[in-house]
Amino acid sequence: MWIVSTKILNKLRAGAISLEVFVHEPLRAEPLNAYTPSPLASKASWLVSCYQECSVSATLITFVVVTAVLVLSIVGYYRKKDKLKILELEQRLLLSQMNPHFVFNSLTAIQSYIFRNDPYLAGKYLANFSKLVRLILENSRLQHITIGKEKETIEHYLDLQLMRFDNKFEYTIQISPEIDLDHHLIPPMMAQPFIENAIEHGIIYLEAKGHITIRFLLEGGGLKLEVEDNGVGIERSSELGETNRKKHQSLATRITKDRLKNLRLVYGKQVRMEMVNLSASSETNARGTLVRFYIPLIIK
């Protein structure tokens, strides 16, 4: 047993423990009254204690170094892991927005203008497509983009979908006048998977013309983002035997969940999403789906 401080000695109960005491000369600032070593014994024990002291400090140093290395490597590991996680989320986000079906079907639609010999429309939609791809490539690397840029991206996306689906729907983007398009920020393309669902799982089943409304609103100091459609609704579209498209859809939902989770870590509980089945609400005759995001308003 090694005791460095005399304070600990004072706390021990009498008679309970037998003590062996070695005294280290240079440390004898507070001499021990109970034990006065003879000069010879003092010399011998000094040698012993010096040896042991050395091994103690060596152990201590080793311990400290090992702990430091361990702590640093653990911190490094988690940092790297976090970085990888963010990178992975970015990649998945990019993937979810570059839905292969959307990409290849849009290109096929553009091809139709080429072979139909309509160079104006072929050129227009090709440029439209590249603008969208460019924005998605830029945006998916950023945590936040301006609402102006978000609006532009959504417009390009919807214009291409309008081309693909032969103007089967119309869309409106409403932005509350208090919102500053160049200085208010939003995580990029939160709404996109839900706009895609609205078109490909709601509106294509409609006989009549579809409507999609996207709203950027301010509420309680935060941003409220809404996507509303008048499509057939969630339940009906799954009734219509939609198995083929589920895979991509679930990917988008998962990514949205992960993104919301990350946002919640930073901004707390005010971040959330809700989905309302408008066909189910009895008060109105509305049908369709309403998706609502509550996101903190970030100002550049």
């Binding site: 292969p100 079907n105 290109l107 139709s112 072979f115 083929n244």
Partner: protein, 256 residues
């Protein structure tokens, strides 16, 4: 004249194919179009076309669902798909023709040329049945493969193929449960198809099912010994990858 129908939910995709057929395939006359499975089945029954161009994914079902509505498929069909990984794999294993969107004019011309080959209705149904089996059992890992010999179509279990050997533009298949056959495709074609199903090209002329490899010997010349004690040569630059694959397989065997 070959009569054709186009069944695709997107108007512009139909439009695009129609224009291309007019431009590049004058022997085809498009006699009707439909936008989903239901109207497609009706159209085919009404006009009885020689060939149907089918989109894979439509709102009320797939092009496969459409074919399944027929007891016997008396027309030829070509799938046109934007993206459907599992379907493409299953197409390949079932020797079903498909074209990717947007359509490459060369692919379209080749597909149309193939249409002039006479195919027995029985064979078409055979192919389609293999395809349906494949997507029903394991979408991402087809279990059955359709092999065309000079005079027959053979449906084989992927697991029953021991090895393939190249012979100029043909490939000889060796099985566990039937005599060898000669198939009119190159070894490279099968290498591409089967490499995800546990096959490895050990040599320019040899593709082996790793499940049947008993051991790897380095001397006198690199070769693998199969369960049936055949010796198959291993190319020098394939050695390292092969050893790695066999090691991984052993680990998996232990895991089971």
């Amino acid at each position: 004249m070959i009569t054709a129908v186009i069944i695709d939910d997107e108007a512009l995709a139909r439009e695009s194919l129609l224009s291309m057929l007019k431009l590049f395939c004058p022997s085809i006359e498009v006699v009707g179009q439909a936008h989903d499975v239901k109207s497609g089945v009706k159209l085919i029954n009404d006009v009885r076309p020689d060939v149907a161009f089918l989109d894979v994914q439509m709102p009320d079902g797939s092009g496969f669902d459409l074919l399944m509505k027929f007891d016997s498929i008396s027309f030829k069909f070509v799938f046109i798909t934007a993206y459907q990984e599992y379907a493409i794999k299953a197409f390949k294993f079932s020797a079903i023709d498909y074209i990717l969107k947007p359509v490459d004019p060369t692919d379209l011309i080749n597909a149309i040329e193939k249409l002039s080959e006479t195919i027995r209705e029985e064979d078409t149904n055979h192919k389609f049945k293999t395809f349906v089996d494949n997507i029903k059992t394991n979408k991402n890992n087809p279990q059955k493969i359709l092999l065309k010999t000079l005079d027959a179509l053979v449906v084989a279990d992927v697991n029953s193929i021991v090895r393939c050997e190249s012979q100029s533009n043909y490939t000889i298949f060796y099985f566990t449960d039937r005599p060898k056959i000669m198939v009119s495709k190159t070894l490279k074609d099968f290498d591409d198809m089967l490499s995800d199903s546990g096959f490895f090209r050990v040599h320019q002329s040899h593709l082996v099912n790793l499940n049947f490899v008993k051991k790897y010997n380095r001397f006198p010349e690199s070769h693998v010994v199969l369960n049936n004690d055949e010796h198959i040569p291993v190319a020098v630059r394939k050695r390292d990858v092969l050893k790695e694959l066999l090691k991984n397989m052993d680990r998996n065997r232990f895991a089971i």
